[in-house]
């Protein structure tokens, strides 16, 4: 990954605060090629600039608001606004760092926690100051046991160095798709199952131990750690005024050098794929966001800037920063059918529309991809996917419905072909999207 088009990055390495290609979170990696241990981290950044006192540090909240940082866990909600609502509640708060990364096509949180663990831990400690929290909980998937051990050791090392003011607890949770949703984390931390709970109350009102709770993605916290050091103006030096900063993306599928990269917000999807060496074959579509994301036809997608408003206008969202390039000769319907089947299996089976609707949509997609489909099936799919959004305790059904609906649109020609002549030759090819071969959450347990 030496030759990368980086014209989109408005700020280069000169200030010493950014690495090659304008990287920020991956600066250390680009400089050394290895994991940053505590000594190296302190050498580059110094200790986290924790504001004095136990009361919420409103100055830091303000800096994050001015920076325009948005959440990198999926919903792209303004982080400053979230900090402010937690800080405004009475009594000590709690910070939960979401490092679960249940999205199978995403690797960015794993990579970030591996390469720059102390940036995330700084961010968590600083967020705790910002909202007046008395504890930090770092949630990691049980399936990444090595990472859990490394992070626990990193926390231990920081505590010996006297870096953190509040206790940081590292937890290993079940790794199901909906176990990383914020109410699932809170419920698990309170001794329950890692399944979503009904809201209200939302975590910011009443979360861990009944306290106001800030749940943030680990990448969001790492950006916060840099904003606390370098200020909002520096943060806004990359990206666009209405979508400032950089973001981690996981690029995979038909690209030459799949992996995790850092791009400026506002980078066009085509240029984003170029950071991974560009398309390895002619493309037909790009999956944007993740398994709960959207299929966009490749031709129109290449010029869409990676920002929440631009993606929304194209019918997508940044999600977990996932971009999967689908080659011309793959079968988008078969890819989608496999993912829907997985998502249906991952339902927490608590809400009727999700319990019954997801398997029904998945089954119709399986018929469409590999079996016999008729026009009634298409009509049924449109109706069912239209009825799913907003009808679960969590947004799991919304995500699955979106994937299905955008597939019908992006692969409209294939739909006609499958309806007329049955499965295409490509339907039998090996899968492009990495659908985990997991047992059902029920058999593995939610606790």
């Amino acid at each position: 990954m030496n030759e990368r088009p980086d014209a989109v990055l408005t700020e280069q390495a000169q200030d010493g605060r950014s690495g090659p290609h304008g990287t920020r979170l991956l600066h250390g990696w680009y400089s050394t090629g290895g994991r940053a241990d505590l000594a190296e981290h302190l050498g580059r950044y110094g200790p986290p600039p924790l504001p004095p006192g136990r009361r919420p540090a409103i100055g830091l909240v303000q800096a994050v608001e001015e920076a325009g940082l948005t959440g990198r866990g999926g919903a792209a909600f303004p982080t400053g606004r979230k900090l402010r609502s937690v800080a405004a509640r009475r009594g000590p708060a709690v910070v939960v760092a979401n490092g679960m990364e249940s999205e199978p096509a995403s690797r960015k949180d794993e990579v970030l926690l591996d390469l720059a663990p102390h940036l995330v831990l700084d961010g968590a400690a600083l967020a705790a100051s910002a909202v007046g929290a008395a504890a930090v909980h770092l949630c990691l998937p049980r399936t990444r046991a090595d990472q859990v051990h490394r992070l626990a050791a990193a926390v231990e090392e920081r505590s010996r160095a006297g870096l953190d003011r509040v206790p940081v607890l590292v937890h290993a949770l079940p790794h199901h798709y909906v176990s990383s949703e914020e109410t699932s984390l809170v419920h698990w931390l309170n001794g329950g199952e890692a399944r979503p709970t009904a809201t209200p109350p939302r975590p910011f009102e009443k979360g861990v131990d009944g306290r106001p709770t800030l749940v943030d993605n680990v990448e969001t916290l790492a950006h916060l750690a840099l904003i606390a050091r370098y200020g909002p103006q520096w943060f806004r030096g990359a990206g666009r005024p209405d979508a400032p900063g950089t973001t981690l993306v996981t690029l995979s599928g038909a690209v030459r050098a799949p992996g995790v990269y850092e791009i400026a917000l506002g980078t066009q999807l085509g240029s984003a794929l170029d950071t991974a060496g560009g398309a390895a074959e002619p493309l037909q579509a790009i999956l944007v966001g993740g398994f709960f994301g959207s299929w966009l036809p490749a031709a129109g997608a290449a010029a869409v800037p990676f920002t929440r408003p631009d993606l929304a206008a194209a019918g997508a969202g940044p999600g977990a920063g996932v971009l999967v390039a689908l080659a011309q000769d793959a079968c988008g319907l078969a890819e989608t059918a496999r993912v829907l089947d997985y998502l249906a299996g991952q339902s927490a089976r608590q809400c009727g529309p999700c319990t019954f609707g997801l398997p029904a949509v998945a089954e119709d997609f399986v018929q469409l991809a590999w079996g016999r489909a008729d026009a009634a099936l298409i009509e049924r799919l449109h109706r069912r996917t239209g009825q799913l959004p907003g009808r679960g305790a969590c947004r799991h059904p919304d995500g699955a419905a979106r994937l299905a609906a955008t597939a019908l649109h992006a692969f409209a020609e294939d739909v006609h072909r499958h309806l007329a002549g049955g499965p295409c030759a490509a339907a039998g090819r090996p899968a492009v999207l990495p659908v985990p071969d997991t047992r059902s959450p029920e058999s593995e347990g939610w606790r």
């Binding site: 979503p196 709970t197 009904a198 608590q350 809400c351 009727g352 529309p353 999700c354 019954f356 609707g357 009825q387 009808r391 679960g392 305790a393």
Partner: protein
């Protein structure tokens, strides 16, 4: 500023008995599995009594009516 009321459903508690759709068909329909679809969450003054009745009739207390302030 007017006071309005808003309907909400606890989707985990709801087990699809369907009484709400019978008592408040103006705002609630059922999907093919018997689970409610809200046409609109805002409850007009005219429907308030019916909405209260539907909330009270839900055997699992999944339907709720919240006061909301709107500009």
């Amino acid at each position: 500023m007017t006071r309005t009321h808003r309907l909400g459903i606890d989707r985990i508690a709801c087990d699809g008995r369907g009484l709400c759709a019978e008592l408040l068909p103006e705002l609630i329909a059922l999907d093919e599995w018997g689970y409610p679809i809200l046409h609109d969450t805002a409850v007009s003054e005219a429907l308030l009594t019916h909405a209260r009745r539907a909330v009270a009739a839900c055997p699992v207390l999944a339907l709720r009516l919240e006061r909301a302030t709107r500009d």
